[in-house]
């Protein structure tokens, strides 16, 4: 069933609008990695409100780190997520809506620094022992535990650096790895504070 008096918009107007909309859909729908930083009241249950929000609404969490700040009543959380611009906008809005969340910022909107800590326990025997030491040095890692057969190497950096370290050493020598998930902070004058 159609309508008889179908109204038509001005042609010139629609051309622009449609062109723009077409462009926007391309930009909007591509999932991008985002680093969201937030301050939240340091109360029990606060973490589950955040993680519950992500699972309930079907958003991704790549990593989530949380610890109290210099003001013990506040915790700072860094969440790495991915999604289209629309989704990330909804994520930040919903995070802001949580009653215990004080402030939210999408660090990836401008210049920022990301760091992650990794501890790798590797087999260090025979010729591998020297090789491991060398690799740790090249990546500016530190060996923080030594036994006859193993090292624990501490490494910080962005995700790419940690990934390449794991890729650079012989996979069969890795006994275990543990990564903290990333912490992020804005560059220069950008400060996330109450």
């Amino acid at each position: 069933m159609g309508i008889r008096l179908r109204p038509f918009p001005e042609p010139s107007q629609t051309l622009d609008a449609q062109w723009l909309r077409g462009l926007m859909t391309i930009q909007n729908k591509t999932p991008m990695r985002h680093v969201i930083s937030l301050l939240i009241e340091n109360e029990s249950g606060a973490l589950s409100r955040v993680s519950g929000l992500f699972s309930a609404r079907g958003y991704n969490i790549e990593s989530l780190t949380v610890a109290p700040t210099e003001d013990a009543s506040l915790s700072r959380m860094t969440i790495v997520t991915s999604g289209s611009d629309d989704i990330v906008e909804q994520i930040t809005k919903h995070l802001n809506k949580l009653v215990e969340v004080v402030k939210v910022v999408d660090l990836s909107e401008s210049a920022h620094i990301e760091r992650e800590l990794m501890l790798v326990k590797v087999r260090a025997t025979g010729k591998d022992r020297e090789e491991m030491k060398r690799m740790a040095d090249i990546f500016r890692g530190r060996i923080i535990d030594v036994t006859d057969t193993s090292y624990v190497i501490e490494l910080t950096g962005n995700q790419a650096k940690l990934d390449s370290f794991v890729g650079a050493i012989d996979a069969s020598l890795i006994l275990e790895t543990v990564r903290s998930g990333i912490c992020g902070v804005g560059r220069g004058d950008r400060v996330l504070k109450v």
């Binding site: 008096l5 918009p9 249950g45 519950g52 919903h94 809506k97 215990e100 969340v101």
Partner: protein, 569 residues
């Protein structure tokens, strides 16, 4: 003054001027019930199931501007309350629920009647608290009321372990609350409001689409004034009914899945859309892709930023209290030199009138079976359009929304978001308590009413003269309708055999029951029922089981893709 935690709870409720508390006692709340016993300013309404306590508090809140309050015990008390809490959450109803919890030391020990109430309710409350110290009770309850009623309203739960209600401390009720993490935006952005007005004045085919936010924000008067000044057509969502007078010429009816033809067409083909306190949900616009296929500028006023650009991209978002923003918009409009373009508005109205002439809600009542639509139309006539009407969920709900023309806000009480069967009767209890002298009708179906029929007992105890209008078609009608339309008439489990004789059942509870099966008796039965000022009257209307709700937009289809009647199939 040093008093027990339980007494503090009651004192807090008194401070908040709570007149009715809906609840059900149990082990974990015994101290609180003991304190309740010793006073009479907070009146307790004993329901027959915790779900009903929450729905009653919900109905109370929806029909007033106040916060509904309920009290339940730990474990099953709390889990029974969950459906009610989720119902209130989906429709943003201000509510405070106090639940008992097992003693602090027993938490986590799998104690008797222990559940993680805060965990279970977390996704369906605006916020919740577990009180860990008697000294926190007063501040927590103050915060709960503040959170429930401000910003986008919603239910807030306060879980209190039993031992804490027995401990003592000094009671001071805080005068005010300030939370650094919670500051809802009330005032709209001036620049955005100006932009919105500009768009409205330039509109050639405008449409105003108002939802439940207008009712919750008590902005119906402002909306009406604005729409009348502009001369624009206005539609309401299911939740927004009464936000604009339904008998007004500028009202084009409810929109959405079972919305009016003219409302849905207008919504789709407008060039400027003013959305007020509404959220473009799936039952309203159908497919977002189809909706976006027609270009239009959208202005969206909402207190919740996350409602904006969620399903539909908008051009002028305005975050703020709808009443405040509409007020600002009105003030700007008064001062504006421009006026809406009368010529294009005229031809737009001509188009709308043409749509309206399809008369999409027409039905015919003959001497045979009672048409459900006819019952609602008569209900509207008999009550002069001025009753409070609660409903359950299903076909009867849609017919009530379509055929009862609500001219005032807060008269229409239904579960729109969650779609909770069993909501109607307990909600009507809350409404009737809040408005003792007023006519209250509960429009229901034989499926829904049986989900909380035990509340007939509560109605007797508290002498609530509700009029139950049962549209009895022997089927779970909306399910049957979908099965007829989309599942090849395979009526899988949608026929309810062995229904009780509802008039006798009502009589057994001490009420007046009446079975009506002739069209000629409908009006008389309704008139007689509403004359009974002191009795609950249960009217069991035997209606045509084959009736379907039209117009209908199938799930996922576009708004303009409407089935208008059985002939369209």
């Amino acid at each position: 003054m040093v008093i027990t935690g339980a007494e503090i709870v009651i004192r807090c409720l008194q401070e908040e001027k709570v007149d009715y508390l809906f609840g059900y006692p149990g082990g974990a709340v015994l101290y609180i019930y003991d304190e309740l016993f010793k006073q009479d300013s907070v009146r307790h309404v004993l329901v027959r199931h915790e779900q009903a306590a929450i729905h009653a508090a919900d109905g109370y809140a929806r029909s007033t501007e106040k916060v509904g309050v309920a009290l339940v015990t730990s474990g099953p008390g709390a889990t029974n309350a969950v459906t009610g809490i989720a119902t209130a959450f989906c429709d943003s109803i201000p509510m405070v629920v106090i639940s008992g919890q097992v003693p602090s030391a027993a938490i986590g020990q799998d104690a008797f009647q222990e559940v993680d109430t805060v965990g279970i309710t977390r996704p369906c409350v605006k916020h919740n608290f577990l009180v860990r110290d008697v000294r926190e009770i007063a501040e927590t309850i103050k915060k709960a009321f503040y959170l429930a009623r401000t910003g986008r309203p919603g239910p807030v739960l306060v879980d209190i372990p039993k031992d804490i209600t027995a401990q003592k401390c000094e009671f001071v009720y805080p005068q005010s609350v300030s939370m650094r993490s919670y500051n809802p935006t009330i005032k709209g952005h001036q620049g955005q409001i100006k932009k919105a007005l500009q768009l409205l004045l330039e509109a050639k085919r405008p449409m105003v689409y108002a939802g439940g936010g207008v009712v919750l924000g008590d902005a119906a008067d402002k909306l009406t004034t604005l729409v009348r000044k502009l001369g624009f057509p206005c539609t309401n969502t299911l939740m927004g009914l009464g936000g604009y007078p339904a008998t007004d010429r500028q009202f084009v009816g409810m929109l959405g899945m079972h919305g009016n033809y003219e409302a849905n067409m207008g919504m789709h083909y407008c060039d400027v859309l003013l959305a007020v306190g509404a959220r473009f949900d799936d039952r309203v616009i159908g497919s977002p892709a189809h909706f976006a296929s027609e270009p239009r500028k959208i202005i969206h006023i909402d207190i919740d930023p996350s409602s904006i650009s969620k399903r539909v991209k908008v051009d002028v978002p305005i975050v703020g209290d709808v009443g405040e923003v509409l007020g600002e918009l009105l003030a700007l409009l008064e001062g504006a030199s421009e006026k809406p373009d009368q010529e294009s508005l005229g031809s737009w109205w001509k188009q709308i009138e043409e749509w309206r002439r399809r008369d999409c809600l027409k039905f015919s009542q003959d001497d045979g079976l009672i048409k459900p639509q006819y019952v609602i139309r008569k209900l509207w006539e008999v009550t002069g359009g001025d009753a409070f009407v609660t409903s359950d969920v299903g076909q009867h709900q849609m017919w009530a929304a379509q055929y009862y023309k609500f001219d005032k806000p807060r008269r229409w009480v239904n579960s729109g978001g969650l779609g909770t069967m069993g909501f109607g009767l307990p909600a009507a209890m809350g409404v009737q308590l809040a408005h003792p002298g007023s006519p209250v009708a509960c429009v229901t179906g034989e499926g829904s009413i049986q989900m909380n029929i035990q509340e007939l007992s509560t109605c007797k105890q508290f002498r609530l003269p509700i009029k139950v209008v049962l549209l009895n078609n022997g089927y779970l009608g909306m399910v049957r309708q979908w099965q007829e339309l989309f599942h090849g008439n395979r009526y899988s489990e949608s026929y309810m055999d062995a229904l009780p004789d509802f008039s006798k059942l009502a009589a057994a509870y001490g009420h007046v029951g009446l079975r009506v099966d002739k069209p000629g008796d409908v009006e008389g039965a309704l008139r007689e029922a509403f004359k009974q000022k002191n009795d609950l009257v249960f009217l069991d209307f035997q209606v045509d089981a084959t009736e379907n709700v039209y117009p209908m937009v199938q799930g996922g289809k576009g708004l303009t893709d409407m089935i208008l009647s059985a002939e369209d199939l």
